[in-house]
Assembly symmetry: C2
DNA sequence: ACACGGCCATGATGCAGATCAAGAAGCGGT
DNA sequence: ACCGCTTCTTGATCTGCATCATGGCCGTGT
C-alpha cells in the first residue's frame, strides 16, 4: 500500500538536521543574484557563519508552516519551492514560486510567526538564514541592511503585480505572464529562457493564477495550437516569444 | 468653466512646500499606532528631527507618482490615501487604502523609484520620512530597524490576503471583508467600528476588489436589503456585525 | 507486467459578474 | 437657485471561466 503524496512529512524542520556543513557563498554560483550580492569580500565570511545548510528537502516536504514560530528566512539553492497560505475553509492559495537564488519567508517577520507555508516542489537544497543574526549583522553593515529592505520591497511590488494580474487580466494573459516570468528568472541564472521544465503541477499554476486546472490545460492547448508554445506535459518550449509577449498583453 | 477633478495637480511634491514646522510625534495622538510606536522617549527626538510635515494635500492631489525617484516613505496623519499602479494599457489598479497612522511608499525602496502612485482621497495631512535618514537612524536603533522590517513584512502579508481575496472569494465576500477591515482600522484609532464614512468612491472600491462599480452598488443594495448594513451614499452603518462576518466568510 | 492513484486533456453546461443602457441623486461653481 | 458633471443605482443581456463529467496518460509500488 502506498502513501498519499500530500501526507509525506507534515514537518521537516531544517534546523533539527544533524550534519550541517560550512556554508560557502563565495563559491556558490548563485552569489551574484542571492543575498551575498550586497556584501563585499571581507564581510562575506560573517554572513557565511550564520547561514545554515542542511540535507535537501524532498518533493512535497514542508520548509515551514503558517503559524509556526518565525526564526529564519530561506534562500533556495537548487530545486523549487511554492509559498502558499491556507484559507479558513481549508483551501490553499499559492502566493508564489521560488527558484534558486530567491529568498522567501519574510512574511513571518511581522508577527514572529510564519504567515504562509512553503513546500518543496521537487528535491531542493535550501539555505536557512537565522533572522535575528541577520538583523544584528545588518545593523553594522549598511549595504546588507539596505539589501534586506530592497528584498522585502521587491516582494511587495511582486505581490502588487500579482494583484493586478488577478484583478485585470484574462486567463490567457495570466498564463502568458507566468511563463514569461519563469523564462526571465531562468535567464537570470543563465539557463534557457525558451525551454524549461515546470516544477509545479497544473493545479498549482491554476491556484496561483486564480484559475482552475481545466482552464490552464485549455490555455496551454490553445497556445500550442497557435504555435507560440510547445507543451509536452511539464516540458515547455516557447516557440514565439513575440507572440507570447503579445498574449501577456500589458500586464506588467 | 470648471476643471475636471482628475486633472487637479498632476504633481504636488511635498518637499517643495515652504512652511515646514517642527514635527511633534510625542503629542500626536497616532503615535501609539504609527512609526514612533517602536521608539523610546529619548530616541524619539531624533526621529522627529528627520520627519517633515507640510501643508495638507487636497482631495485628488498626488502624493507621489510611479516612476519618480524614491526619497521618503509617508505616514498618514489625517484623511485617507489610495495607492495604485497604472497598467501598461493605462488602467488603474488600486493596491491599497491608507488611513491615519498607516505607512505607505515602501514599494519604492527596491528600485529607488516609486513602483506605485498615491493620491489623497480627501484633504489629508501627511508626514514625509526621508528614507536615507531613516536607514541611518535604524542602524543605530535596533528597535526601529526591527519595526521597519515588521512594517514591510506586514505590507507583504496584507498583499497576500488581498491576493487570496481576489482569487478565491465572491463579490459579497470581498466587499464584506473590506468593510470589516475598515471597521477594524477605525477601532484601532478609537473611532466607531460600526458607523463611518467611506472616503473612497465606488469605482475605487471596485477597482481594489477586482469588481465593477455596478457590482459594488448591487452588493451594497443587497446587504442593505437583508438588514446587515445601512448604506447612505458613502455613509455606512454596520447593523449586524455577526452577519457581515458571516458574509465575509472565511477570507482571512 | 500490471494495477492503482494522481495528473492532465477535452467536451457540455451553468452561472457570477461584466457589459450595455438609462435614469436618479449628489455637489461644486456661478 | 440653477446648471453641468460626476457618482451612484438598477435593469437587461452577454460571456469567460467554473463546474461537472469522462477518458487517457504516466509514474510508482508490488
Amino acid at each position: 500500500m502506498s502513501m498519499r503524496l500530500q501526507d509525506v512529512s507534515e514537518a521537516a524542520p531544517l534546523r533539527s538536521c544533524t550534519h550541517e556543513y560550512k556554508v560557502n557563498c563565495e563559491t556558490c554560483r548563485l552569489s551574484r543574484i542571492c543575498l551575498p550580492l550586497a556584501i563585499n569580500h571581507q564581510d562575506l565570511e560573517q554572513l557565511e557563519n550564520i547561514i545554515q545548510r542542511s540535507k535537501p528537502l524532498q518533493r512535497n516536504e514542508l520548509l515551514y508552516h503558517e503559524g509556526t514560530p518565525f526564526q529564519s528566512i530561506y534562500a533556495v539553492r537548487s530545486g523549487a519551492v511554492k509559498g502558499y497560505r491556507t484559507t479558513s475553509d481549508g483551501r490553499e492559495q499559492v502566493t508564489g514560486f521560488y527558484f534558486p537564488g530567491e529568498i522567501l519567508g519574510m512574511d513571518g517577520i511581522s508577527n514572529n510567526s510564519h504567515a504562509s507555508s512553503a513546500r518543496a516542489l521537487e528535491t531542493s537544497a535550501i539555505c536557512a538564514i537565522p533572522f535575528d543574526s541577520l538583523e544584528r549583522l545588518s545593523a553594522s553593515m549598511p549595504s546588507l541592511q539596505r539589501h534586506l529592505f530592497q528584498l522585502m520591497s521587491r516582494e511587495i511590488t511582486d505581490d502588487q503585480l500579482l494583484i493586478t494580474l488577478l484583478s485585470k487580466n484574462s486567463a490567457d494573459e495570466r498564463v502568458a505572464t507566468l511563463l514569461l516570468s519563469i523564462a526571465n528568472r531562468n535567464a537570470r541564472r543563465n539557463l534557457s529562457a525558451s525551454q524549461f521544465r515546470l516544477p509545479m503541477s497544473r493545479v498549482d499554476i491554476g491556484n496561483y493564477l486564480g484559475l482552475t486546472v481545466e482552464t490552464i490545460s485549455r490555455v496551454f492547448s490553445r497556445m500550442q495550437k497557435t504555435g507560440m508554445l510547445r507543451v509536452d506535459n511539464k516540458e515547455i518550449e516557447i516557440l514565439d516569444q513575440e507572440a507570447l509577449q503579445q498574449a501577456a498583453n500589458l500586464a506588467a
